[in-house]
Amino acid sequence: MTEAHAQLLVGIWPFLVPEMILAGVACIVFLGGTVRADRHLWAGVSLLGYVAALVALHLGPATTTPADPALAHAALLPVLFDPLTKLLQALGFLTGILFVLLSWNEVDDRQAADWHACLLILVAGIGLTAAANDLVVLFLALEMVSIPTYVMLYVPRENAAAQEAALKYFLLSVFSSALVVFGFSYLYGIAGQTNLTLILEALNAPETSARDIPLLATVALITIVAGLGFRLKAAPFHFYAPDVFQGGPTVMAALLAWVHKATGFVALLRVLGFVMPPHVQPREFIGVALSEQTPIVFWFLAVITMTWGNALALVQDNLKRLLAYSTVAHAGYMLITLATAPYLRHEAGAVDGVEALLYYLIAYGAMTVGAFAMLAYLSTPERPVDTIDDLAGLSRSHPALALTMAIFLFSLIGVPLTAGFTGKFLIFFGAMSVEADHAYLFWMLAFIGVVNAAIGGWYYLRLIAVMYLRQPLQPLAPRPNLPGLATLIVCVALTLGLGVPPGSTWLLRHVKGAAGAAETARELARR
């Protein structure tokens, strides 16, 4: 460690203020929870924590831009602050706010403190994942997301189903973590570094490369993809999802569907070099440093995932199970972008794979969290909303809620004017834009994708049909729940707003900026 390096290490503290705030508030809430059991209090406190973190993020130093020579070595630090990090951190903190609102009335007074404290840690984990530039940090950040999840899965509910969900998630999560770190260990072995920048540098260096030790590289690739695939809910690593979604609290289902998927994708982007530190030059394409076969792996993973998810979602009657399979299917669509991203050099494709991924991820977050929030909002202990039939006739009793839900579902189908459409469009357009010898493979991928989208239409539409076209069996009586309503409003606003200009333009600009690191890398590579 050089002197300059040490200086830089000291200099990164300002960047970490938001996470520190969150951790601090978490400690306060943990401790305070032993004194007072009041869900409003602790939700309010953690809300303040998120707001403070957001403010700190906003006021904090700008990103470590590659143009700044003083920070030329910033990329060697264990944490990296590029536009992608900033975007994801902001998103993470917003997610935190959203989930506080969503869970405000869902968690008992007694468990509220624990719950909110865990959520704070989890969100801090998101921020750290986004920033991680070192295997150690990344591993820790991922575990910061995982471990609170175990607790949160069984804290709010004490029935057998919740416990079973927690057990399944816990065991399989540990299993997948082991897979990820196994991959990390080989990655480390190949590069001799834990720093991701250096690893990518080494992998992309012309003289030495992973291709000299194909076995290690391949094993690393597969185990990392498999382990993180658990978080993405990519088939065949998704099996826990339906059971856990069904058994666990609705809020947790939303959390797993969006936050864990997002962290998984971010980790993949970082580790496999889809988004590279500014000065690292990809030897050929992005994302294929470990193995030439990365796109093929993602190709198959995407196909299996979306097909499996959609086929099984078709036969579901339980709402949360259905949404769990839908989240699997959507993971499949998103994986298309990773399969295509290596080929979408900017001058070739009109749309970058990473951009499409980030866009879709955010759009998906809005609509899926919205859908789960709706289920949570409608459910009462006396009249739970479990099966599709429970939604019958919602449009008659609660037209506004039904319309909101319909918007989420239409967005999940991918009907225009919603964020889901724009996202799917970018994904499929990306897949069609691939310009390579075997471009037809990606056209085929897009074809399988749209066929799946059409299949997906069937079961989402079934929900809409139930809400609109059937008479209510037993009227739902959602309790007045202001925070829950706020969640819905935010989600529906995002779902619609991000689907059409100016919202879509705005988001596209930001995800372009976030993927900018990669773009810069390619600019350099061309020179």
Binding site: L179, F239, A311, L314, I455
Partner: protein
Amino acid sequence: MFDVCSYLWLIPALPLLGCIATAALGPRWLRGQSHWPCILGAVGACVLSVLTLIAVPQGAVNADGAPVPYLCSYYEWFRAGDVDVSFALRADGLTAVMLVTVTFIGSLIVIYSVGYMHGDPGYPRYFAVVSLFLFSMTGLVLANNFIVLYAFWEGVGLCSYLLIGYWFSRPSAAAAARKAFLVTRLGDIGLFLGILVLWTETNSLDFDVVLGQAHTLSAEILTIACLLLFAGAVGKSAQFPLHVWLPDAMEGPSPVSALIHAATMVTAGVYLVARCMPLFGQAPDAQLVVAVIGGFTALLAALIALTQTDLKRVLAYSTISQLGYMFLALGSGVEHHRLAALAATAAIFHLVTHAFFKALLFLGAGSVMHAMGDVIDMRRFGGLRKLLPVTHWTFLCGAAALAGFPVIFSGFWSKDEILAVTWEASRGGPHAVIYFVLLVTALGTAGLTAFYTFRAYFMTFWGEQRLPEEAGHHPHDAAPVMGVPLMILAAGAVLAGIVLGPTGLFGGFLEHYWSRSELPTRLQAAEAGGHALNVPLMLISAAVALGGIGLAYVLYVRTPALVGTAARMLGGLYGWSRNKFYLDELFEALFVRPFAGLARLCKTLDQYLVDGLVDLIGQVPAFVGYVMRPFQNGLVQFYALLMALGVAGFLLATMLR
């Protein structure tokens, strides 16, 4: 005189205006006076038609000395690529003759209808549609290109449909109307396809261009095109095998039967073939078909007419039979240009005389019906001679004309020309024998015609006086508004033949137009001698006609008991004739049932097979879902195993590659 084009458009436009005025004003304001727009339109059109008839011979001639028709293009209907259709009208000899016939008879019938339809609740509707018919019919004969012709052709079909179904609450009328429309439309498809073939070959739709290029077409194309066009004529003019609609069409009011289903619309097929004579004349094979169909239809219809007891049906079959004669004449116009011109002239001449006497007969039958309280079954009345004197005498004139009573009556002259043409055709050419057989058939048919015509006449007007209950206590003869048209028509029926025929007025007028420029061609080579009266043939036909009338007199006036004996003697033939040779049943079994069955089959197929298959494809994803369901068995270790297998699978696949 005025320029022909300046008033030619008024000939169809006046009835159209009449139609619009009646339709718009009739139900609310005119009510019982709804006939005025229609009469004014018809009479106006008639006057203008006569003007046209006068103007046509004064028209220009071209270098060859052939007359040039007046061509008046009014506006472009539609145009796309090479399909260029203008609302163009033409006035030449043929058109003028047709126009005068149509509008004159039309006017009379419209006037007659005032009395006949009096008090009917649908009075305005009747006159509106009749006006529309006159519009369509005049348009049809005025059309200068095939598409406009086709349009009006369909238009008259529509009017026929509406008028047959005029009393639409009668199920039989509704059924007859549909049948008429559909059967004629079957022929119309042929016409349209024929037009398509001609258009593809000549790139034009105008009569002059298409007919002028006829000699450039190959024989096969010509034959196909002619046969397709003829299919249209067969449908519209009720020739075998599409004649089945016409007898049923008698469900309409009698004036309609007179106007549309005897005098004008059904002759449109004859007009079409005559108009296309330059094509037909050069397609001997097609001509043979035309002649054979015509001759056969004439015979068949005459045979059926022998035993019908419904007065109007007898007349309907006689119409079919007479139209058959016309086609026989047209079909005989082969071999050389002179004969073709003769044939067309003969056919059109018969068309004109037939229009007079058949309209007369139908109106007479209508008058009988009117008096008998809408009963038309001849078995239920008789001896009406004294009761309905005007009707009786006029009917007799018509019957004599139809029977071809020698020398005076018009039918004799026109029929004779047809026989003469057929005789000419049988004197040479590859199909001479067939034409001779047709000639014999035609002669025989003439006898049958005389017989059944007078059978109907005797059954209705002779014998002891019998009245059906529906007639009420005081059946009265035709009122003047009905009687005067009857008398005018009767005069026409008697005199038209002898005035126009042997004097050569008609032939001279019309043949002038079948000039070389219209019939250029391969036919010119053989120039036949002039048209002279064929005295032996005339004698034979006169004898046959008189024989038929005599037989009818014997059977139905002198010794009515013989009828039963004769029927028994003929046995099966009588039954076949009585049942119209079971053709309706045959059609039912051959076409209607199979198509209905096919339709039901399609419906079932669509409901179960096609929809089922499509739904089945839709079920595939769900089926996949069911198949994959057992993987989700709830065992956490099984999930872990699948994950591990997934890793192993991907590892293997990646490494083996």
